[in-house]
């Protein structure tokens, strides 16, 4: 009976939007095609296949990761780091992504010492632990927990429940804080990776300004401002400067 209903539902769904099944199958095929190209060391075609998937609007950590690998093998370090970073945003605790990202970073010519101190590094680490949705959901769980424990305290005034409520409330408040920071960072912080082999960074948005330093492929920057064809970018060590938009890609 139940089986029948689901079959009918699937049929109806197919009738309404027939290209749903088609595109899903095709996407999976395309993904596997990319993997086969990669296996036969045809990295350029693999990149094309994965990029087609992305052009369809698919946002998926696995595709980003495989694309990063293909770019790495194709010796496009900047793009590789870019897509590993994109993958990490969607799946922050994946060890493959983390390994490949840190490995490919070893090849970046610019070595930068981060100027962040211990406590801000701790906050960064915590925020990088999960995605926005994970933080949101966790906050909601603790909200729910606090509310239910609150209801229980209306009827049972035991010490242990009150303490539990205090703990849940504390976690809830801290999580709200972290979730807020995470959301505001994700929407305001724009990060980018240098994808051209070298980029000259100037003190203003034109080549007539003083050349401040030269960055190389794979360098990760934070974009703070934009003007015409230029971005104002900041490095983790505090150095800042303007660089042409074409030389970087946003994460």
């Amino acid at each position: 009976m139940l089986k029948n209903i689901s079959q009918i539902l699937a049929l109806v769904l197919l009738l309404i939007c027939p290209n749903l099944l088609y595109s899903q199958e095709n996407s999976t095929e395309l993904f596997q095609k990319g993997n086969r190209y990669y296996d036969s060391s045809n990295f350029k075609s693999a990149i094309q296949a994965y990029q087609q998937l992305l052009n369809r609007g698919i946002k998926d950590a696995t595709v980003y990761y495989n694309l990063g690998n293909a770019y790495f093998r194709d010796k496009q370090l900047g793009k590789a780091i870019l897509y590993y970073r994109k993958a990490q945003r969607l799946s922050p605790r994946d060890s493959d992504i983390a390994t490949n990202l840190s490995y490919s970073r070893l090849f970046v010519l610019d070595k930068i010492k981060s100027s962040s101190n211990f406590s801000s590094a701790f906050i960064d680490k915590t925020l990088n632990w999960g995605t926005v949705n994970e933080f949101t959901f966790l906050t909601f769980l603790f909200y729910l927990g606090s509310a239910s424990l609150g209801i229980v305290t209306f009827f049972k005034r035991e010490k242990i429940i009150k303490r539990g409520l205090a703990v849940f409330l504390a976690f809830f408040l801290v999580l709200i804080l972290f979730a807020t920071i995470k959301i505001s960072r994700d929407s305001q912080w724009q990060e980018a990776v240098v994808t051209s082999s070298a980029v000259e960074v100037y003190s203003g948005p034109a080549k007539e300004f003083t050349l401040q330093f030269t960055g190389h492929e794979g360098l990760e920057l934070k974009i703070e401002q934009e003007k015409d064809d230029w971005y104002l970018a900041a490095l983790p060590n505090g150095a800042k400067g303007w660089l042409p938009k074409a030389s970087v890609e946003k994460i």
Partner: protein
């Protein structure tokens, strides 16, 4: 207890932050003592420590009142978990040449563009008992033959100084020789004070030489000591006199006495009475020529002589962050101790730490020569094949009177990507500790390939969901209050049940109406109304008179018409109960309607 743990945690965090910051350079100077006798030695130690790659020799100020001897450099280098710390001590032996309050001026060092200075040190020099310092050569005169000992003491002893050249370049070796001529025996070892050698770097040239020499047909025993002097600056320099204090037997007093007065009691003591003689050598003038300015190489650091440079590595192959040792050896003739380290080429892919110097000095033929080896620790930062460019060292060649440069052979290093990367990288890449040599392979399992989903917090249903716990909280709170009042508040309970009870009584009266039981019907209606009012007003129904009802309802601000209606109903009920008349069914029904409407009106008014 819990507070203590929290405090400890915070303290640890602060400590860690501080450790991260504390990487400063310290530069200090100290002496082993501040009060000495003239010609005693003081050890000056200058210490540099911090995470610095190349520590040059600190610049010592010109110390006019001291003879300065460099006595070497010791260092300590540690590399633990990517943290390097480095300490270098430079030792100098200072020998004061004058008495009084002397000042050792501040030494200077320039590291990474910053200049550090030490504090000046005050030293008090007293005349003291002129005991020769232990490190000074002891002049042990050979015993001259007795027959040579004449009565004349005037030229029996003298001290003569000479140099091998009167003109020399800065930092060129000038050999000073001091000869002590003696034709008589001295009573004990003479006190020797070295000459004032301001403006020279001094190296003793052992061994002492002892020989016989004949002058003016007298045979002298000669003790010769030599010193190598390296002038530190150009100009006319004077080598001050050396002094020798010695005791000789006084023959004069013996001769002037009557030889027959042999039993003179003073004679014996006079014979033993020694005479103190102070000998001074002749001062010498030396002209020091400056080194030519023309064709002076940019990396010239003042070395004069003849040198040869060699460089070697302890291994040709290493891993990232695994140190290797580079040895640079300068060998030749000249002022070995003052040799500065040849400048290493800038190596972007290495961190360079100075780990020590060692010297080998031989003084054969009274010429200072030997070798000095500089050890550098190279820490490769990146993998790859590297060629170390040749290391160059420039010096002024004395034989050709021109500048020359000696070069090492280029060296090759192969650096493999290390397994130990993790220790030097941020902790987020701990996955590397397994020794990563390549990226990980693709993920082959096809994912669900969804379009990016919008964030949870932007979805309307999720935002609406946030209200649910709040609503639940509100409702349960009200319910809890209700339950609490039911248990504790009688008037609340009565108030809540009033309408229900009245409803039940009205139903009962309706049944009585059907049975046509007029008396009971009216009694039930009266109970419904007075019971209801009793519950609402929280008064016992038994003691509730119509006057009470009227008064209470006026207090509750019911309008007069409604109050009158209620009283009227109660009156007609009383009347019907006590009057033995029977009632028309129609009449009873309309009364029932009237009573229930009055109750509804009361309830409406109350619940508003």
């Amino acid at each position: 207890m819990r507070h203590r743990v929290v405090f400890l945690f915070i303290a640890i965090i602060f400590l860690m932050v501080h450790i991260g910051v504390a990487q400063e350079i310290t530069f200090s100077a100290g002496v082993d003592r501040t009060q000495v006798d003239l010609h005693e030695q003081i050890v000056l130690t200058i210490q540099v420590s911090g995470n610095v790659q190349n520590i040059p020799q600190p610049q010592l100020p010109v110390l006019k009142n001291f003879n300065v001897y460099a006595s070497g450099r010791t260092q300590n280098f540690s590399f633990v978990n990517g943290q390097t710390s480095y300490t270098a001590s430079f030792n100098y032996v200072l020998i004061p040449t004058s008495t009084g309050q002397l000042t050792v001026e501040a030494a200077e060092i320039t590291l990474e563009g910053k200049t550090y200075r030490t504090n000046p040190i005050n030293i008090t020099v007293t005349q003291g008992a002129s005991v020769p310092p232990t490190n000074q050569p002891q002049i042990k005169p050979p015993t001259p033959s007795k027959t040579q000992a004449t009565a004349k003491t005037g030229e029996d002893l003298y001290l003569e100084a000479s140099v091998d050249k009167r003109k020399a370049y800065v930092n060129e070796q000038v050999t000073l020789s001091l000869k002590f001529y003696q034709a008589v025996n001295t009573l004990r070892n003479p006190d020797y004070t070295p000459p004032a050698l301001t403006g020279f770097w001094v190296e003793d040239l052992p061994p002492q030489k002892q020989f016989y020499d004949t002058r003016n047909q007298r045979k002298f025993a000669v003790t010769e000591i030599k010193m190598a002097l390296f002038p530190t600056s150009a100009g006319k320099k004077t080598i001050g006199p050396a002094t020798l204090k010695c005791l000789v037997e006084n023959y004069k007093s013996l001769l002037n006495k009557d030889p027959f007065d042999i039993f003179d009691p003073g004679l014996l003591s006079q014979m033993r009475q020694p005479e103190e003689k102070i000998l001074k050598s002749n001062p010498l003038e030396v002209e020091i020529l400056p080194l030519p300015e023309s064709n002076k190489p940019s990396n010239f650091s003042g070395t004069v002589g003849k040198f040869n440079l060699k460089a070697s590595l302890d291994k040709k192959q290493t891993e990232v962050n695994q140190p290797l040792t580079l040895r640079v050896t300068l060998s030749g003739a000249g002022n070995i101790k003052s040799l500065n380290e040849p400048g290493l080429p800038q190596l972007a892919d290495f961190r360079i730490y100075n780990s020590g110097t060692s010297e080998k000095i031989s003084k054969d033929n009274y010429l200072v020569q030997g070798s000095k080896t500089f050890e550098e620790i190279l820490l490769p930062q990146t993998a790859g094949k590297f060629k170390l460019p040749p290391i160059e060292f420039s010096y002024f060649d004395l034989s050709s009177r021109s500048y020359k440069t000696t070069k090492s052979n280029p060296l090759e290093i192969t650096v493999l990507p290390g397994a130990d990367l993790a220790s030097n990288l941020p902790s987020s890449v701990n996955e590397l500790s397994g020794g990563v040599k390549d990226i990980n392979y693709l993920k082959t399992k096809a994912p669900k390939l969804s379009r990016g989903e919008t964030n949870l917090y932007k979805k309307p249903w999720f935002i609406a969901l946030q209200l649910l716990p709040l609503l639940a909280l509100g409702f349960t709170w009200r319910y809890r209050n209700h339950l609490e009042k039911l248990q504790t508040d009688v008037s609340y309970v009565r108030n809540k049940r009033a309408a229900k009870l009245a409803q039940k009584r009205l139903e009962a009266s309706n049944r009585l109406l059907a049975e046509n039981n007029g008396k009971e019907f009216h009694a039930e209606i009266a109970k419904a109304i007075s019971g209801y009012l009793g519950d609402k007003l929280n008064l016992p129904p038994a003691s509730l008179s119509k006057e009470d009802i009227q008064r209470e309802l006026i207090l509750k601000k019911f309008d007069e018409q409604q109050i009158n209606q209620v009283i009227e109903i109660l009156n007609s009920c009383d009347f019907a109960r006590f009057a033995p008349t029977s009632y028309e069914r129609m009449e009873m029904e309309s009364f029932y309607q009237k009573a229930s409407q009055a109750l509804i009106a009361l309830e409406e008014k109350w619940s508003r």
